[in-house]
Symmetry: C2
Subunit: 274 residues, 2 copies
């Protein structure tokens, strides 16, 4: 897919199929939620940049979906923010007021909940934790910078650096003691450790919830690397207060979060948490 | 100074002198504020660790000062949190709901205000931005870790790396084209750029207020390095929303913040912001 219209067409087709499968019509739908890559503005529904989808820039996704689906209330939010909502309401972070959601997948992203509120920032783009630079040097990142946690540790970046289509092949090669793969995976572990230490020292959460396909398949080289980094290098008090746990929900976490967020925002309860 | 009792004695002597100079007595003092190095817990007044003061560990500073001064209400908070309060109430961040205060001095620290609230975390130690690792390798830091922004860019660390008592000498040597000094200062600039980019991408503030003696004396190699890093490498929307500005208050910012924080907390208004 390239560009906004393709994305809208695909979502509309999928939404219409879901409505048909439920034997309903668009008029039965009170609100719809849509998880999208960030940075974006969940209040205006505009996606600013999507490093992993070429051509999607400053695109009014919520508005276009409202028009195309003829549904009045379409709520867009960053996929990772939606995932954090789902984990908070029904997953690994139930009842937790200070946590960070991290996804290690094609990209590396997350969302920050502090004192029971989603940390949004002044233009609603806060939480892009994959783009905190954790190395003074490092490979070029999809965001245009370099040294980002994502540039070292995300699936797409690992696969590209090794020259294969899928990061699973890099982990497999590392397990088979290929030196280059092992070097890349070890470097990714160190980047994830830096990220985890930074989250603990700077945000002092009680929980870091780690999801995404890479984390799910390679916990020993992702979650464990983060735990070791925290144990060895974070300040003692926030170190002792934090746990790093796997996400409680599977790959549909963003979709589940979108449904919960749409319900909350449609009922006017959104701002307490979202 | 080493250890808590020395610190308490020095503060008590200074407080008694100030009370005497005002021709008052401890009974006239409704509340006192004390800015201390972190991590600490501003609610209990316990200083957990102070990397730059040997021997100060898990020390109940507020309680000891209450006893020694016979003042009922003594409020302790991290020096950088106090400084952020002062900058927010009467300095460079007046009326700003999303900002980060950064001090580049002996150490490197800060405080985060998001959505009009001080970001505290689950054990009140959030905001230790000097200890977000920004390099995969790097010199050992006073906190026990390595690669922290502080380990590259704080005054004590620069001076130690160059083998002189004062960071000013490192900057002077760099200006005189000494290769080692230039390498150290350039590396510090890169660490500060990483820190600034991370703050922008992760927290999306409208303002980064930079104080501390190094920032004050070397703005071209601190604030400008942060501005350049943000301009070249941060996401466009949060980049365009942020300004990096010098602190509005001078070296007494922590003391001023302590007075304001004590007044606010004594009046019960503390939690809205502090």
């Amino acid at each position: 897919m390239t560009g906004g219209p393709d994305v809208v067409s695909a979502i509309v087709a999928s939404a219409r199929a879901a409505i048909a499968a439920a034997k309903g019509s668009a008029r039965d739908v009170v609100a719809a939620g849509c998880a999208a890559p960030g940075p974006l503005d969940h209040e205006t529904g505009v996606v600013h940049e999507a490093p992993n989808i070429p051509g999607l820039r400053d695109f009014p996704l919520a508005e276009r979906l409202r028009e195309a689906l003829a549904i009045d209330a379409v709520y867009v939010d960053r996929d990772t923010a939606m995932a954090a909502v789902a984990e908070a309401v029904t997953g690994a972070a139930r009842g937790v007021a200070d946590f960070v959601y991290v996804t290690i997948s094609t990209g590396l992203g997350g969302a920050i909940v502090s004192g029971g509120r989603m940390l949004r920032g002044v233009t609603n783009t806060a939480g892009e934790i994959g783009h905190w630079p954790v190395g003074l040097e490092g490979p070029r990142c999809g965001c245009g910078s370099y040294g980002c946690a994502e540039s070292f540790a995300a699936g797409r970046n690992l696969a590209e650096a090794y020259g294969v289509p899928d990061a699973a092949q890099v982990y497999a090669a590392a397990a088979a003691r290929d030196a280059t793969a092992e070097w890349l995976v070890t470097r990714a572990e160190r980047a994830l450790a830096n990220l985890a230490i930074g989250l603990v020292n700077v945000l002092n959460p009680s929980l870091i919830v780690v999801g995404g396909s890479i984390a799910e398949h390679e916990p020993a080289r992702t979650l464990d690397a983060m735990r070791r980094g925290i144990a060895e290098r974070a300040f003692a008090v926030p170190r002792d207060a934090v746990s790093v746990v796997p996400a409680g929900l599977g790959r549909d976490v963003g979709m589940l979060g979108a449904a919960i967020a749409a319900r909350e925002r449609a009922s006017g309860r959104g701002e307490w948490f979202l």
